[in-house]
Amino acid sequence: MINRVLFIIMLVAGLGAPFYAYPVFVMDLLCFALFACAFNLLLGYAGLLSFGHAAFFGGAAYITGYVTKEWGFGPIFGILAGTGFALILGTIFGFLAIRRQGIYFAMVTLALAQIIYFLALQMPFTGGENGLQGIPRGELFGFISLNNEIAMYYFVFAVFMIGFAIIHRTINSPFGEVLQAIRENESRALSLGYDVDHFKLLAFIISATLAGTAGATKAVIFQFAALTNAHWQTSGEVILMTLVGGLGTIFGPVLGAITVGALSHELSAFGSWVQVILGTVFVVCVMVFRRGIVGEIQHRLLKKKADK
C-alpha cells in the first residue's frame, strides 16, 4: 500500500519536476537516487557494505565520456558502454571482495575502489585532475537533441525508471528470496546447498552495474567525467543517502538521495560546514534513526495497525 502511494508520488513528482525546479539539479538528484537504489540492493538486501561503489559510478562515467567523445557513440550506447564497464568491474571487485566478510568486505571494496581512483588520476585518457571535459550530450534516436534541457531531463527520468524497475524486480524474485534467506542465516543457506558466495556475487554485480548506469548518465548530463565521482567520499555519500532514506526499503534511497542532495546543495555556501553537517546527519542516523525516513514511516504504520 504505502509503496504504491510512494510510487505514484514519485512518478508524478518526477514527471513534473522540470517545471518547478532547475532541471539539471533534478537530473543530478535522479542519478544519485539510482545510484543509491543500486547500493541499497547490496547493503539493504544482501547485507553487504561496499565502501567502493564510487568506482563503478565514476568509472562508468569515464568510459561513457570517452566513447561518446572519441568514438562518436550516441548517448544510449554511451551509457550502455559505461554500464557494461561497471558490470565487468563489478564482477572483478565482487570476485575479490566476496572472499572477506563484514567489515573486511567494506575495507576491501574501499581499497579496490582506490585503485580505480588512482587509475583515473593517472591514465592518459581520463585527463587526470582535469577530468574528461566536453562530453557531447548527442542526440536520442538520431533526432532529439539532448542539448535541450527538457529532452535531457525526460531521457534521464526514463533511465532512472528503468533502473528502478530492475531493482524492484530483483528484490521480488526467486533470487531475492534466496538473498533474504542468506541474510537471515548464512550457514543454514549454505547447508541447504546454496552457493552463498555466488548469490552475493550476483547481487554485487547487479548493484555495481546499475551504479555504473547512474554514473554514465551523470557524465552525459554534465558533459563531464571527473575524479570526484570516483572518490571515496562519493562512496560515503551514497551510503548516507541510503541510510537517511531507509536501508532495505524500496523508496528510501530515492528519498535519501533527494534529502542529502538538496541539503548539500543548499548548504554549499557554508564551505566545510557541509561536511560537518553531513557527518552529523550520519552520526544521528546511525545512533537514533537507523530505520531512515521511509523505514520509520513504515514502522509507524505497522505499529498503528498492530495496535488496532
Binding site: 530492475i166 524486480r169 530483483t170 521480488n172 524474485s173 526467486p174 533470487f175 531475492g176 528470496e177 534466496v178 533474504q180 534467506a181 537471515e184 542465516n185 550457514s187 543454514r188 543457506a189 549454505l190 547447508s191 541447504l192 546447498g193 546454496y194 552457493d195 552463498v196 555466488h198 548469490f199 550476483l202 547487479i206
Partner: protein
C-alpha cells in the same frame, strides 16, 4: 572436483558413505587416525566415544568444515574428499541440527520453500517475479504436515516454540530429499521429554534415508542406532549394534569407566 577416485570400484549399493583411512593431524597432534567406516544405506549410524576421542573432528571432516590430512571420503560412489560444502549439499548430503538453523523472519512455509526452490533451478533468476514460487506451496505444506507444523505455515519462524523450531529445521532438511543426514548431538541440552520428541521425529523421517549422528545420550543411541562406531583417541575402538558395543570390555573401560557389564 567430482572425478572418480583412482581405482574406484563400484561400491556395493548398500554403502552410501565410506571413509578410507581418514586421518587428521593438528600440527603434530593426530586427532583422527586411520579411520575407515562404512555407512549402510538406510541405516542410522551413531558415533560415540569418550571426550576428546575425535568425534567432533571426524564429523567436521565429513561436513567439510575441516580438510583431512590423509584418506578419502566416498559418498554414493564419488570421492568427495575435496568437494565444496554447497556442492555436497546439492548431492543430497545435508548437515542439520545446528543451533536454531531456521530463517527467523520468514514464515514456516517460506522456510521450507527456500529449500524446495533449489530444485527449480531458477534461484539466480533475478528477472522473474517471486510469484513463480507459489507452485511450491503445496509441497511445502505437505512437508510441514509431516512434522506436525501444518497449522503454523504462516507463522514466522522466530515466533515458533523451541521444539517447533527443531521440527521446522527437520522439515526444511527433508524438503531437500536428502539421502544422507548428518546430525551433530541432536539432543544436546534438551530435557528428557524433548529428547523423546526429537527421537520420535528422527525415527519418523529416517524412512529410506541414512543418518549419521554424534551423540552422547546412550538412551537415544540405543533406541535409534542400527550401527554404532566407538572412537577412542582418534581410532575406531569397536563397531556394531548396541548390544555388541555396550558389552565390549574395551568400550566399557574407555567409555563407561567401568568393567562391569552395563
Amino acid at each position: 572436483m567430482e572425478e572418480q577416485a583412482a581405482g574406484e570400484q563400484t561400491q556395493p549399493s548398500s554403502t552410501i558413505l565410506e571413509t578410507r583411512n581418514l586421518t587428521k593431524d593438528f600440527k603434530g597432534f593426530t586427532a583422527i587416525s586411520d579411520v575407515s567406516i562404512n555407512v549402510k544405506t538406510g541405516s542410522i549410524h551413531a558415533l560415540i566415544g569418550p571426550n576428546g576421542a575425535g568425534k567432533t573432528t571426524f564429523f567436521n571432516l565429513l561436513t567439510k568444515f575441516l580438510k583431512p590430512s590423509a584418506g578419502q571420503i566416498i559418498y554414493a560412489g564419488k570421492d568427495i574428499t575435496n568437494a565444496r560444502p554447497a556442492g555436497i549439499a546439492q548431492q543430497g548430503l545435508i548437515r542439520s541440527f545446528q543451533i536454531s538453523a531456521v530463517f527467523p523472519h520468514l514464515s514456516a512455509r517460506e522456510n521450507v520453500r527456500v529449500a524446495l526452490q533449489r530444485k527449480l533451478g531458477i534461484s539466480y533468476h533475478f528477472w522473474r517475479p517471486v510469484r513463480i514460487l507459489d507452485q511450491l506451496n503445496e509441497e511445502a505444506q505437505a512437508t510441514l504436515e509431516q512434522v506436525g507444523l501444518g497449522p503454523f505455515a504462516d507463522t514466522k519462524a522466530v515466533e515458533l516454540a523451541y521444539g517447533q523450531k527443531r521440527a521446522l529445521e527437520i522439515a526444511t532438511t527433508i524438503a531437500l530429499k536428502p539421502r544422507l543426514m548428518l546430525l551433530d548431538e541432536p539432543t544436546q541440552g534438551m530435557s528428557s521429554e524433548d529428547v523423546g520428541t526429537v527421537t520420535e521425529l528422527i525415527r519418523k523421517v529416517v524412512d529410506g534415508r541414512t543418518i549419521v549422528m554424534v551423540e552422547h545420550n546412550l538412551n537415544v543411541v540405543s533406541t535409534l542406532a542400527d550401527t554404532i562406531t566407538v572412537l577412542n583417541r582418534g581410532e575406531v575402538l569397536a563397531e556394531g549394534n548396541y548390544d555388541t558395543v555396550s558389552t565390549n570390555p574395551a568400550v566399557m573401560e574407555a567409555y563407561m569407566g567401568t568393567t562391569d557389564a552395563a
